[in-house]
Assembly symmetry: C2
Homo-oligomer: 434 residues x 2
């Protein structure tokens, strides 16, 4: 049993008993944190490794609760367009050409960016999910994966897709030393007929898995749902039984007070995607109200093509900033709340109870920021610095499941040069086919 | 006469005839760009230095048009508060204790962060401005400096402050090889009585200098102006003659249609500070309308205590994102417009006609981003990547006035270790005195 101790670090613990430890120590044994506190519990010579944490800010790894990682291949391909135009004219025609190989390299490109930027767990909803799972396995990252199914197709194709989604969820749940969990995902109420959504609900019950879906991202989509099904998306999904399973919905921008109450009642988790919602002009989610109602709100980047990066520090900062500016309330989402959304509540939103805080008994998923830089001076308030001043590039070291994945900015598990080369090659082939 | 050529680079020129050069060359002679184009104009051996620009994205240096640099000493000291509370209870009591030495180290801390992050020109409005000017001189950055005067004081103190502001503006205009220009600055309509503002207008006329001031940052301030002076800030300042001089106003969040017309009519330049306006819950400026009326809109970070960093890539991205999300128009501020606001229109907003574009005859103020990173792949659209994917930490090299100031992430002109140490020492002394 290998024992590592980190000393002299600043720790943002996400543990209410001692949220900030200014000059602390943390012990990692195998894939767990077994101690965190002010002083080393044992003499330093009794550890297998002793890491000097001076000038580092340690915090839980970031949890990105909504992504379509392989869409990194389309980063910058079609900006400044409305959601439906962007999807129908730019994304879907290119994505229709995605092979398993494209998904492999696009996912690896995103995972490389995520781990280097401090994301230690991500949710992915896409196609060719075996490739995504293999990329997760190789890279050492933690992930909650799900085949996102668009059901606008003949019944036999629908059935095949559902069977594939079921198979994937069964095959990979608990794999990669438990780093992979799975969900069932009808893509959205506007891309899946009601009876098809009900089949996903049944499958989720059968497999005892949660459901993940897009919901109420744009005003138009909400109106279309009313026009087509006579109900807004929340009532529609509730009626179809989606919330009878543990559920994570992405976006939830356009909600009424009553809908917020329904989400709270069913303990539905919301993945807030501020960057993507702004970029696609979808609007600003009612996050302060969601938080007031006790709903678990986490943060997602959405796919890299609508963001256009996977910097979770940026999402935490946007979450802290935009709701202040839009509501006029300077404490609408304080720095502490944004930090929690990006870490502990992210993990809880995907039912990981032992991830998202630096605390004895938690999984050793944590990151270290290099704080010996001008934008982290003076040393006034480390939570403020992490939320209002930091960016992905400040991340020096990343540990996931007790393993060092990024060391002083270098990813130890992935071949960066090859991934950049192959992702460029994939994009050029895809564009050439258009 | 030294001649340097950069080859094989990607160039964002901000020149409409060829906005992006994919594999280009640029020649710098002394402090000027003398050539930019697809191929080197002369055989490479005829240059004194030949820089390989492969895997670099070159663009004009960023222009930060509103800052109080020394407030970096208060970064993280009082977040998540309303503007007036934050100013009156946190900032002003600490700032009242600022000595010339504090301003020196706070300014150097900010300049270090700015140059490393790609800002080559900044506007600074503060006190102890001789220290700021000396820090500009030492560091090699370009700046437009102004003593910001709060006039809520007895007449003799008012007179002394005005005289000091005049003297500073005269002493430093055109200094540091022309890198320093100056302005006259009554701090704001709510901190300067009308007759005092008129004295600044007269001084600006006497010295033939522009005027810089805060204006219409919060709704409360606008209402107070109406209550106290019977007019909203734009009419108030117009009446006092402020717009009879070339003028740059910071914030301009709360404007009516008529006020926008008045600003357009007087060619008043607006420094949009999206990060600060969101953080202090001041609101969202009507930038799309300002742009439609042809008003020159540039970007400012505001002081580091209300941001809390000086990353101009973040301000460009916020400018591109928030107006889409808030107006529901996905092309409200396209990437190209945000890029222009952060570079060329920033320079024009402070009357620098030979800064802000990569073009023959322009000053050699430019930066290089390391684009051999995951978040810049695939290579689809470089303007998109610069606005939606980049951050300050991606900046590798910075040239200002033809001089290499930052080389592969290291600032060649400033002593980082000393600046970090001294700024921490200053903060601790200031807090100890509270």
């Amino acid at each position: 049993m290998s024992k590592t101790i980190i000393t002299n670090g600043v720790f943002l613990t996400l543990d209410e008993t001692q949220p900030v430890i200014e000059k602390g120590s943390m012990v990692i044994e195998n894939n767990q944190i077994t101690y965190i506190g002010d002083a080393p519990p044992l003499p330093l010579e009794q550890y297998d490794a002793n890491i000097d944490g001076s000038n580092k800010l340690y915090m839980p790894g970031l949890v990105n609760t909504h992504n379509h990682a392989a869409m990194s291949l389309l980063r910058g391909f079609g900006d400044d367009l409305a959601l439906q135009v962007w999807l129908q004219e730019k994304m879907w025609p290119m994505e229709a050409r995605f092979s398993a190989e494209d998904v492999r390299w696009g996912s690896l490109l995103s995972i490389l960016e995520m781990v280097k930027g401090g994301t230690t767990t991500f949710v992915d909803m896409y196609d060719h999910m075996n490739e995504v799972a293999r990329a997760v396995e190789e890279s050492g990252i933690r992930a909650c994966l799900t085949r996102g199914v668009i059901g606008l197709c003949p019944p036999d194709v629908q059935d095949a897709k559902l069977a594939e989604a079921r198979q994937f969820a069964q095959d990979w749940h608990g794999k990669a030393n438990g780093r992979i969990t799975t969900m069932m995902s009808p893509h959205a109420p506007y891309t899946c007929p009601p009876d098809y959504i009900e089949k996903f609900v049944q499958a989720a019950h059968d497999l005892q898995l949660p459901i993940h879906t897009h919901m109420s991202e744009t005003a138009r989509e909400v109106q279309d749902n009313v026009d087509q099904y006579g109900a807004r998306p929340v009532a529609h999904l509730a009626k179809l039984g989606v919330f009878s399973r543990p559920a994570l919905v992405a976006h939830a921008v356009h909600l009424t007070d009553e809908e917020i109450d329904v989400l709270a009642q069913y303990d539905v988790r919301v993945s807030h995607n501020p960057g993507s919602n702004l970029k696609l002009a979808s609007g600003v989610a009612r996050v302060p109200e969601l938080l007031r109602k006790g709903i678990k709100v986490s943060l997602g980047t959405d796919g890299p093509a609508s963001n256009n990066n996977l910097d979770m520090f940026e999402e935490m900062r946007l979450a802290a900033l935009i709701h202040k500016g839009v509501t006029g309330d300077p404490v609408a989402v304080p720095a502490e709340a944004a930090l929690r959304m990006g870490t502990l509540d992210g993990a809880r939103s995907i039912w990981l109870d032992d991830v998202g805080a630096l605390k004895s008994g938690m999984k050793a998923d944590f990151i270290a920021l290099d704080i010996d830089q001008a934008h982290f001076y003076p040393k006034t308030n480390y939570i403020s610095h992490a939320i209002y001043s930091a960016s992905a590039n400040d991340v020096a070291d990343v540990w996931i499941d007790g393993r060092l994945i990024v060391d002083n900015g270098e990813c130890l598990t992935l071949d960066q040069e090859k991934i950049l080369f192959e992702s460029q090659r994939c994009f050029e082939r895809l564009v050439g086919q258009l």
